[in-house]
């Protein structure tokens, strides 16, 4: 039933002459919940930015819903990795989330719908009470939630989250993944995360990103697969209920 939503063919990208990703091919079906895992510097963020169209591939093609990323970018929701930039910028939580509703018609005030959508997004992350606060007065974890709300306010078909839980406590993480699971009923979701233990019961597939990409459609990594040399810094990852705990992979102690 499901159609491929993302098709990447022989994609290569290098940054200042050093290859970050080489010859990556990847097909992802609609409404998958994909976890990007892999070591630091393995190219996870670069891959996301290529999929978003913020970076241009050196070689290869990316088709998302049959189009180039730049053409379809308005249907993406994106949570960047770094949410602590521009620390002194005077802007309210509401105005940050409203960016998800861009572009606006010129001159016209924001429509009621835009505000309602932004408030709904904030509410789903339990941040509505902070809507009039300056974003710089919030903690890292709260800021993270505001940026997730901004991505949700776009009402995207595909959601990209680059380490969305880096600043969030464990209860917040569980809540966030439960919310993503709910959203996954209608949206395709990509998440970069090192929370492999928590993730395992929510995702539908795993992509190990380390210069190349190995995509596992069944969201299950076996010892054999690791032995074949996927080099993922994963100790255990399992899918479904009840959780399956896999043995720690030998020689993978970091």
């Amino acid at each position: 039933m499901k159609d491929p939503i993302i098709q990447v063919n022989h994609l290569s990208f290098s940054y200042n002459g050093s290859p970050v990703l080489s010859d990556v091919s990847l097909t992802v079906m609609e409404k998958e919940f994909v976890a990007f895992i892999g070591p630091n510097g393995g190219g996870k963020t670069t891959l996301i930015k290529l999929l978003l169209g913020l970076l241009k591939p050196d070689q290869g093609t990316i088709k998302i819903m049959g189009q180039s990323p730049a053409k379809i970018a308005h249907r993406f929701g994106y949570v960047p990795q770094d949410v602590s930039f521009n620390k002194s910028f005077p802007i309210s939580v509401m105005d940050v989330v409203l960016m998800g509703r861009l572009p606006f018609h010129r001159w016209t005030r924001l429509s009621r719908n835009d505000r309602i959508a932004a408030q709904k997004a904030l509410e789903s992350l339990e941040m509505l009470e902070f809507q009039n606060r300056k974003i710089n007065d919030l903690s890292g974890g709260q800021r993270e939630r505001v940026f997730i709300a901004r991505a949700l306010a776009t009402d995207p078909d595909i959601l990209f989250l680059d380490e969305p839980t880096a600043n969030i406590d464990s209860q917040g993480r569980t809540d966030l993944y439960a919310l993503l699971k709910e959203l996954n009923k209608t949206k395709t979701i990509f998440v970069v995360s090192h929370d492999t233990m928590v993730l395992s019961s929510y995702i539908t597939s795993v992509a190990c990103v380390n210069k190349d990409v190995h995509y596992h459609n069944d969201a299950e990594i076996t010892k054999e697969m690791l032995d074949m040399g996927y080099h993922c810094p994963v100790e255990l990852i399992a899918h479904g209920i009840p959780h399956r705990i896999l043995k720690t992979h030998e020689g993978n102690n970091d």
């Binding site: 602590s84 005077p90 010129r106 903690s139």
Partner: protein, 280 residues
């Protein structure tokens, strides 16, 4: 001070100060939040090349200066958009070339000795009425563009990657507003001088940023602060017979340090380290 208002030059100076404050408050806020202060400095000094060119070719001041500074602004913008990391070096080079070219062109201009000081510190007390119309036009255009693109400007300034994803024409708006920075600098140099332009573009927005909840508030508060510095500087200059451009800058500088001391004493901000922050 009140009796000074009987003089036309004083009335013109105050009106010019208001327009310059408005333009600098709005455009300066854009410059400060986008960290383009160095770029604005580069444009202002490259404009000096334009002053030299205008005198050398015998063309009107505005034509030569606008042409050169707009060209410099567009080149600098292209560099900033393509290579953010090294842009500052390149701007520094254009900055120096602009100044050097300006001086040499003035050297080569026969029989005319321009008072360079007036371009560095301006002569707000000698503003002709025609310049006020230029400033009025620029003020209206600046307010219009900022109002029209406010939400886009906000998104680009805060998070240009996200703005790009949402289909905001990031490059176009960047070029437009940096072009506006260039035009503002050229028109205001004539009134308050090159050094005061940079001071008015940066000091009021920097102070205002900390006390504002939005970019629009920051623009408004910077404008008010700039008016305050202009008027108080003019009053000191008039009373003690000093160079007005310099007194206005020193007023702004004094406010800058007072606000820093005030913040240190009364605004107890949490430390800026975020790595250990907790929720709630």
């Amino acid at each position: 001070m009140i009796d000074a208002l009987h003089f036309e030059f004083m009335r013109n100076a105050l009106i010019a100060g208001c327009f310059a404050s408005l333009i600098c408050g709005v455009i300066g806020s854009f410059v400060v939040v986008n960290r383009l202060v160095f770029l604005a400095g580069g444009i202002a000094h490259a404009a000096f090349g334009g002053i030299g060119l205008a005198f050398f070719l015998g063309i009107p001041y505005l034509l030569g200066t606008l042409g050169v500074s707009l060209m410099a602004a567009m080149i600098m913008t292209a560099v900033v958009l393509n290579n953010k990391d090294r842009a500052d070096t390149f701007i520094g080079i254009l900055w120096a070339i602009g100044m050097a070219t300006g001086i040499i062109l003035l050297d080569m201009t026969p029989g005319y000795n321009v008072n360079l000081m007036s371009y560095l510190f301006g002569s707000i007390l000698a503003v002709p009425g025609s310049d006020l119309w230029w400033m009025l036009g620029l003020s209206v255009f600046t307010l219009f563009s900022t109002g029209f693109f406010y939400r886009d400007l906000l998104a680009i300034s805060y998070d240009d990657e996200f703005a790009r994803l949402r289909g905001v024409p990031v490059n176009l708006i960047y070029f437009l507003f940096i072009g506006l920075v260039a035009v503002s600098i050229v028109i205001i140099i004539r009134v308050v001088g090159l050094i005061l332009v940079i001071a008015l573009l940066t000091i009021p927005p920097y102070i205002a940023e900390k006390y504002s909840n939005s970019l629009a508030q920051m623009m408004g508060l910077s404008t008010l602060l700039a008016v305050l510095f202009n008027f108080s500087g003019l009053w000191v200059a008039y009373t003690y017979n000093l160079t007005s451009g310099a007194t206005i800058i020193l007023m702004a500088a004094a406010a800058f340090f007072i606000s820093m001391i005030f913040d240190a004493l009364f605004l107890k901000k949490p430390p800026t380290l975020i790595s250990n922050e907790q929720n709630n």
